[in-house]
Structures are given as C-alpha cells and as structure tokens.
Amino acid sequence: MQLVTPGIGLVFWMLVTFLTVLFLLTKFAWKPILNMIKEREDHIDNALKSANEARNEMAKLQADNEKILAEARKERDAILKEARETQDMIIAEAKHTAKAEAEKMVKAAQSAIESEKNAALASIKQQIVQLSIEVAENVLRKELSSETKQSGLMNDMLKDIKLN
C-alpha cells in the first residue's frame, strides 16, 4: 500500500523542483538551443539553395559557352567555305579568261601570218614580173641591136603574118 500511496513530501519537492527546472531549462537551455538549431537549419537550407542556384547558373553559363562556341565554329566553317568558293570561282574565271585571250592571240597571229604570207607572195610576184621585164628588155635589146637583125625579125614576123 505504501508503494502506491504518493508521499506528500515527495509530491511537494517534486512539484517545486520540477517547475523550477522547467522554467530554468526553458529560459536558459531549450529556447537558445531550439533557436540556434532553427537558425542553423535555415542557414543550411539557404546554403544548399544558393549552392543549387550557383550550380544551375554554372550549367547555364556552360551551355551558353557551348552555344557560342558552336556558333563560332559554324561561322568559321561558313567563312572558310565561302572563301574556298570564291577562290575556286576566281581560278575558274582566270582560266577562262586566259583561255579566251590565248585563243584570241592565236587567231590574231594566224590572221597576221596569213596577211604576211599574202603580202610576201604579192611582193614576190611583183619581183618576178620586174625581173621578167628586165630580162625581156635585155633580150630584146640584144636581138634588135643591128639593122639586119631588125629586118630579119621583121621578115620573120611578116612571114608569119599571112595576109589574107
């Protein structure tokens, strides 16, 4: 029976002590401890959040970089391609021009040669005519140097001429 009968003295001391301890612990231990834990939790939460944000930012930056790099690469390729095309075009044009020029030159040369040849032939003909005349003159002069020879010739010719 003694075991289950609360002693008034112990009830009194327990009540006084417990309420004092409750007050003191609440004021000087639980409040600061709980506040500090809460503060630390918030701090950790914030730190995690900002770390996450920073990581996202980094990822975004990296993606941007990649994009810029890719764009630059593409632009470089385009420029190179264009350059190559231009080069090809210039070469082709040059070739074409050279060919045309060469053809023109050949044609001009050919026509020059032709005209030279014609001129040369004409000049040769002239020379030949001159020479022939000179020879003929010389021959004639010799043939007709005396009266006899002239009359003989006249006779020959007259012989040939048959008066009908």
Binding site: M1, Q2, L3, V4, T5, P6, G7, I8, G9, L10, V11, F12, W13, M14, L15, T17, F18, T20, V21, L22, L24, L25, T26, F28, A29, W30, K31, P32, I33, L34, M36, I37, E39, R40, H43
Partner: protein
Amino acid sequence: MFTKGLGLLTALLFTLSVSAQHEHATVMHANDSTESHEQKFAPGPFIMDHIGDAYEWHILDQGDFHLSVPLPVIVYSQSSGLNVFMSSHFHHGHESYKGFSIAHDGDHKGKVVELVGDEEIVPLDLSITKNVVSLFVSVIILMWIFFSIAARYKANPKSSPKGLQSLLEPLIMFVRDDIAKASIGHHYMKFTPYLLTIFFFIFFNNLMGLIPIFPFGANLTGNIAVTMVLAVLTFLITTFVGNKAYWTHIINAPGVPWWLKFPVPLMPVVELMGVLTKPFVLMVRLFANITAGHIIALGFFSLIFIFGEINVGLGYGVSILSVAFTIFMTMLELLVALIQAYVFTLLSALYFGMAMEEHHEH
C-alpha cells in the same frame, strides 16, 4: 550458445557438489543460532525497502556496522510546530527523537509519526528523503548538461555539433520533430520546452536508477508521487489548452444518438472518465515499468541470499546465474528507460494535440 550453456551447467553441478559438503555444517550452525529468526533473509521487505523512499541513504551493512548518509527530516505538526533535524537522530529507525519516530508497522509503516499523548499522529512531512536527494542530484546533472550545451550553441552558432552536443542533439531533434511536431501540429513550438523537459527528466532519472552506486540508484521515476506530479502537469496543460471543439466533444459529442446523452448523460460521463483515465494511465505506466525493473533486479539478487542461506556454495553458484540474468535485465532496462521516457512524452504530446485539434467534420 551450446558451449556457453554447457559451461553454466558445469558450474552449477560443481557448486552443487561443493554445497553437499557444507550442508552438515550449516545445519549445525542453524541449530546453534538462537537468533535465526531475526537473521533470516526476507526478500519481500528487502525489495520493498530498496524501491521505496527512506529518511536516510543506506549504502551498506556489514554485521553491526551500518553505512548510511543521514538526511534532513522536516516535519510540521500543530502540536509541536516546525521541526528540522537529521535522520541520524533516529539511529536507523530504532529510537525516537523529540517525540518523533519511524513507524514500524500499521498504516504509516516507514513514515515519521509523532506521539502525542497515546495517539500516533502523522505530521506534515516535507523531509529531504532519499528520493528528494536523488531528484536534486538529477536536476543538477540535467541543468549542468543542458546549460553547458546551450553555452556551446551560443558560442558556436551555425557550426556542427561536438561532443555531448552531438550526442543529445539527435534526441532534442527527435522530441521536436517526431514527438512535438508530429503529434501537435501547428503550435508545437509552444509545447516543445515542456516535452523536452519531461523527456530528459524521465530518461535521465530512469538511467540514474539503474546505476547502483551512491548518489544514484534511487527508484525515483518508479515512485508514484513523482509520476503523479508529471501526469498531473500534463493533465493541467491539456485542460487549459483545450479548445471549444475539445470540450464540445466531451460534453456533447457530435454524431452520437441523443438518447445516449439525455436523460442519462452516459456519453459525457464516459468521455469525462476518459479525460481522467489518460493522466492516470500515464502515472501508472511509468511507475509500474520502472518499479518492475528494480524489483526484477533485486529479485535476482535476493535469490543469491535465499540459496546462500540454504547453503553457502549454492549461493555462490546461483550468484553466477543471478548476475548473468541481472546483466541481461539491465540491458533491457536501458531500453525501457528510453522507451518509457518516449512513451510518456509522446502521449503527453498526443493529448495536447487532441485538445487543440480543430474538428471540422463529423
């Protein structure tokens, strides 16, 4: 496991064979002794003495030598007023002092009574008993630990916990998050200091009760006065924070047929009984669990002396088993110490939560 069992069995057989040789001598001694009745070991009073309260802190007996710490007796009665004296004046309960003495039998057995004329009256007894000293020791330890932790929190805010702090922080967080927040909900921060205090008070005192060395080992949380104060505080808080819905639910429970409330208020009576049963169960559960743990440990030790009286060797043999079982029980009690602190705190939190719950639908 098998070899262990075999070892124990061998030890037991060995002690039995040794005890057979001693039996003759013991019987002779028992016959010689005229005071055998007084010397006989009585486990009942032995256990009750240890789990109950006392006016002195008894440490050990060796023959006629009694080592105990005397504690102040504070009594007030209308006939003799306030009296404060050390319990050593009672000479371990054998003598009376200023008309006060410790009753040896009757309704007030073990209490200080005053002899006025021929009548035994019980004065108002506010003595610093063994349990009160244990209470003081426990709260000093409690405050010392938590004040030092609080100082560390203040000195190193936002840094990771160290030492004792890292041992107790998970428990503080557990009480805050898994007991207070989970059971009470929105207003949990208002109750967390109280819940933390009862949790650590009960837990520390349960653990201190398991240490059998002065100034520990008192059965404080296994004392009904202590558990009653704790339960009454929980009951008072529940009653004061109870909202309209809580009281409506008790007096005029919604969803219950009217003939259960009128003309015989059956449901209100049942509900009111429930309100009173809750703290009563809290009180009895903690008291019974902790007291039972102490009784079991003491019971095992009593076996040693019971068998030792039959035969000294047998006593030694049984002591091996008793110590083994007590170690096992102490391990269990370590668990019980935490579980009971948890259960008391959780149920208190649940009652607060119920008292503040808003009933929207039924």
